[in-house]
């Protein structure tokens, strides 16, 4: 194994650069080193001006998503040896405005997230003193997958619809809406329906499935969207056939 590998890193400093430029760095090629270890090596030893986000370096905080050789990846869970002999191209996530170097602006997602009301909605809240809402392991399994989203934004970066139409609510937010819709304790599906069935909601999705392919946590947002399309379609038929009171 060669002992070095080249990282070609996208640099963009607003005010200084008019557009991103690629800069090459040699970093040690070691077993167990993630792409992120290569980047922190650059920052610590070669160039303190490189900016990127990271925190947990165990694939759970969702900070370190970037585009690696063209694909959206968590850089703390993607390894240098898998790209040997290199070079490895590291760029910011696509479909988001670049703030600086490898840092993108996810403000759009942060604004969309509350619109799908990703929190427990109940007609009547029982007092905590009465104990937990019962939920069997099978009921938990109904929504568990959609509760695994770490908000890493890889799916948005992979989504061709979001690329063309930034008003699309997007895969993770819809998956999180479904996470609550399918939770046996929740009664808020009707409250989330407007946003989900709006033109920017599920119907914008042309079912490409890139989001699920990109997702590092097997959330399968495409399935969440697909499933809600069915729910909404069935609901629409019912609404059409039944008088209001009988729905």
């Amino acid at each position: 194994m060669a002992d070095q590998i080249t990282l070609e890193v996208a640099r963009y400093r607003p005010g200084l650069d008019t557009e991103p430029v690629m800069q090459s760095y040699q970093v040690p090629l070691r077993e167990h080193w993630a792409i992120l270890d290569g980047l922190t090596y650059i920052k610590d030893h070669l160039d303190g001006t490189l900016s990127f986000r990271w925190s947990c370096r165990m694939g759970i905080c969702g900070s370190c998503g970037m585009t690696v050789n063209g694909d959206p990846q968590l850089t703390c869970a993607t390894f240098l040896t898998d790209y040997a002999p290199g070079p490895v191209r590291v760029e910011p996530l696509r479909n988001f405005p670049v703030v600086r170097d490898l840092v993108v602006d996810i403000g759009d997602f942060m604004e969309k997230l509350p619109t799908v009301k990703p929190w427990m909605i109940r007609d009547v809240d029982s007092p905590v003193e009465e104990g937990e809402y019962l939920q069997t392991p099978e009921e938990l399994d109904e929504y568990k997958q959609f509760s695994m989203c770490i908000n890493c934004m890889l799916c948005y970066s992979a989504c061709p619809v979001y690329a063309l139409d930034p008003s699309f609510v997007g895969p993770a937010a819809i998956a999180l809406a479904q996470r609550y819709n399918l939770d046996s304790r929740d009664e808020g599906a009707a409250d989330r329906d407007d946003v989900l069935t709006s033109p920017e909601g599920i119907w914008a999705c042309t079912f490409v499935g890139e989001c699920s392919a990109a997702c590092p946590k097997d959330v399968d947002p495409a399935a969440a969207i697909q499933r809600y399309k069915l729910t909404a379609a069935t609901q629409a038929v019912k609404n059409f056939l039944l008088p209001r009171g009988a729905r």
């Binding site: 167990h32 920052k43 900016s51 925190s55 759970i60 905080c61």
Partner: protein, 581 residues
């Protein structure tokens, strides 16, 4: 520029989010804001795996949880705080259930509990082995349902503003733009988490740099019990990624190089095929990490390029149990170690994990500075004393986050009002200082990373699992020198936009303060208790040290003063810590 909120929470982890909700619930008229250096759902609470303790089962009782916590702490906790904690934890965990936390369930639909180290009964609630992740996202999503809670996401707090013994807010930098702002408030709650990054090998995320401890310390609040740093016995070599104690609670064994369950040699019980509470692999973390050092001394650990290791054996648990109860452990082992715990041994070694010490607070989260509260890992109430029990920390964030939120809300409701001009002047001075930091270090010759690495090495060598007067004095000297070199640290990045090098510089300066406070307290405590093991004073000394250390920063340069505060004992007089017998 300056903004005002009634209550300002620094930190968007488990403690901070819970505190913010408590403020909103206590007094909906109060304007509450959360400032966090990362988006709240990136906070380190997200990494917690194993679970959260709170009495739930019929065969369990609050007294038993309290006794386990008190004996686990080597009697250095405050028993009134522990009694409040165990009484309120179950309710908080239920509240989280009502907010949607996907707790693992029993077949009948009730929430499930698992065993944990140092706990006599099963009382640890869990969401598979991603408990912290689910708790944090549940809290964050619940906060989204309070539209009036203002968030400063990716803002970095650099200073607490204090005048005449009372706090009135902070100065912070918006990372995206480099803009500095004085954010004033009637009450401030510090929830900035721990400081594992002052050591080289840690389970803690990059953001855990002890900022809040240093902020309060600089503002004149004492730090308490800083010598008590928890080493978790099972981290993956190289990355330091945690393999949760739940792996042992589900039946995992620790084996030395001869395949021998070595804990039996350290007064931790006799090996049984299935887990026994408070015994062997389910002993407390301090004792297990110490046992590792003895195995190393006896030549019974295994050498690897990343240091000596022992093995965690999960193979006998089988794929089905591992996938149901420990899926994240399997994922982490495969991703970061290229091994499958279903068929292979997991290499592990002790790793810095948790800070028992922190900002001194009372049972309501109040610090000695008026209007200043603290909760979560950054605070020291103390329920953890000399050694925290696994799964007590997440519920601590909830119980004391709530308490601090309520107390701060009451305070802000009573003592709102005008911000003294001195505070605004302080704010302007701090903004000017930050401006200078951005350019001052242009000529610096020292690399931030070099100073940080040397600080971490000094801490590991000086104040590790075992320490003594000499090792600590040496570390103190090294830190002194590093502080001088820090003055000459270079910042090559002069951009205002997302300047992570400036943040690294500010974090390093906070860490140097925290490191010094650890060494200072460790030097003064001439006894061995819990996680503080002095080879030159190997016995516990209740006559001299059944007391919290409080370290104050003296205004003249970097002077420090340590005082002792007796622990509060209600019902459990100091006794022997007995495990496995």
């Amino acid at each position: 520029m300056s903004a005002f909120h009634d209550v300002l929470v620094i930190g968007g982890g488990g403690a901070g989010l819970r505190a913010a909700i408590a403020v909103a619930e206590t007094n909906p008229r109060l304007r509450v804001a959360i400032v966090s250096k990362v988006y709240p759902m990136r906070s380190h609470t997200v990494s917690a795996e194993g679970g959260a303790a709170g009495v739930a089962a019929d065969d369990d009782s609050l007294d038993e949880h309290a006794y386990d916590t008190v004996s686990g702490s080597d009697w250095l906790c405050d028993q009134d705080a522990v009694e409040a904690f165990v009484a309120e934890a179950p309710r908080e965990l239920l509240r989280l259930e009502h907010w949607g936390c996907p707790w693992s369930r029993q077949p009948d639909g009730h929430t499930a509990v698992r065993a944990f180290g140092g706990m006599k009964k099963k009382r640890t609630w869990f969401a598979a082995d991603r408990t912290g992740f689910h708790m944090l996202h549940t809290l964050f999503q619940t906060v989204l349902s309070f539209p009036d809670v203002v968030r400063y996401d990716e803002w970095y707090v650099t200073k607490l503003l204090v005048d005449n013994g009372r706090t009135y807010g902070v100065v912070a930098i918006e990372l995206a733009t480099g803009r500095t702002e004085t954010i004033t408030a009637s009450a401030v709650i510090v929830c900035t988490g721990g400081c594992g990054r002052v050591y080289p090998f840690t389970t803690n995320a990059n953001i855990k740099t002890g900022d809040g401890m240093a902020l309060a310390y600089r503002a004149g609040a004492p730090l308490k019990d800083m010598e008590f740093v928890q080493y978790h016995p099972t981290g993956l070599p190289f990355t330091g990624i945690l393999i949760t104690e739940a792996a042992r609670a589900e039946g995992g064994w620790l084996l030395n190089k001869d395949g021998y369950r070595y804990l039996q040699d350290y007064d931790l019980g006799i090996p049984e095929p299935t887990p026994v509470m408070r015994s062997m692999e389910l002993g407390p973390r301090d004792r297990l990490s110490q046992a590792f050092v003895h195995e190393f001394d006896k030549g019974r650990t295994i050498d690897t390029p990343y240091g000596p290791i022992v093995h965690l054996d999960l193979r006998h648990l089988g794929a089905e149990l591992i996938d149901a109860k420990l899926p994240f452990v399997r994922e982490l082992c495969s991703q970061y170690q290229n091994i499958d715990p279903v068929t292979e041994l997991v290499p592990v070694r002790p790793v810095v994990h948790y800070m028992m010490g922190g900002i001194h607070t009372d049972i309501h989260g109040a610090t000695p500075i008026q209007g200043l509260y603290a909760a979560g890992e950054v605070a020291c109430v103390s329920i953890n004393g000399a050694n925290r029990l696994g799964s007590n920390s997440l519920p601590e964030c909830l119980v004391f986050g709530t308490r601090a939120g309520r107390a701060a809300a009451v305070f802000a409701g009573q003592y709102g009002g005008a911000i003294p001009p001195a505070i605004l002047a302080q704010g302007r001075d701090e903004e000017d200082r930050l401006e200078r930091e951005l350019t001052r270090h242009a000529e610096g010759r020292e690399r931030i990373a070099d100073i940080r690495t040397e600080m971490q090495t000094a801490m590991e060598n000086g104040a590790g699992i075992y320490r003594d007067g000499d090792s600590l004095a040496k570390a103190a000297d090294e830190l002194q020198e590093l502080r001088l070199r820090f003055a000459d640290a270079a910042v090559d990045d002069h951009s205002r936009t997302f300047n992570t090098e400036l943040v690294a510089l500010l974090e390093l300066s906070f860490m140097l303060d925290v490191a010094e406070s650890i060494i200072t307290c460790a030097l003064q405590r001439e006894e061995s208790r819990g996680a503080h093991q002095r080879t030159d004073f190997p016995a516990r000394d209740d006559e001299g040290y059944l007391a919290h250390s409080l370290v104050y920063r003296e205004p003249d340069r970097h002077g420090r003063r340590v005082q002792y505060l007796p622990v509060t004992i209600t019902r459990w007089p100091p006794g022997e810590r007995v495990y496995g017998r």
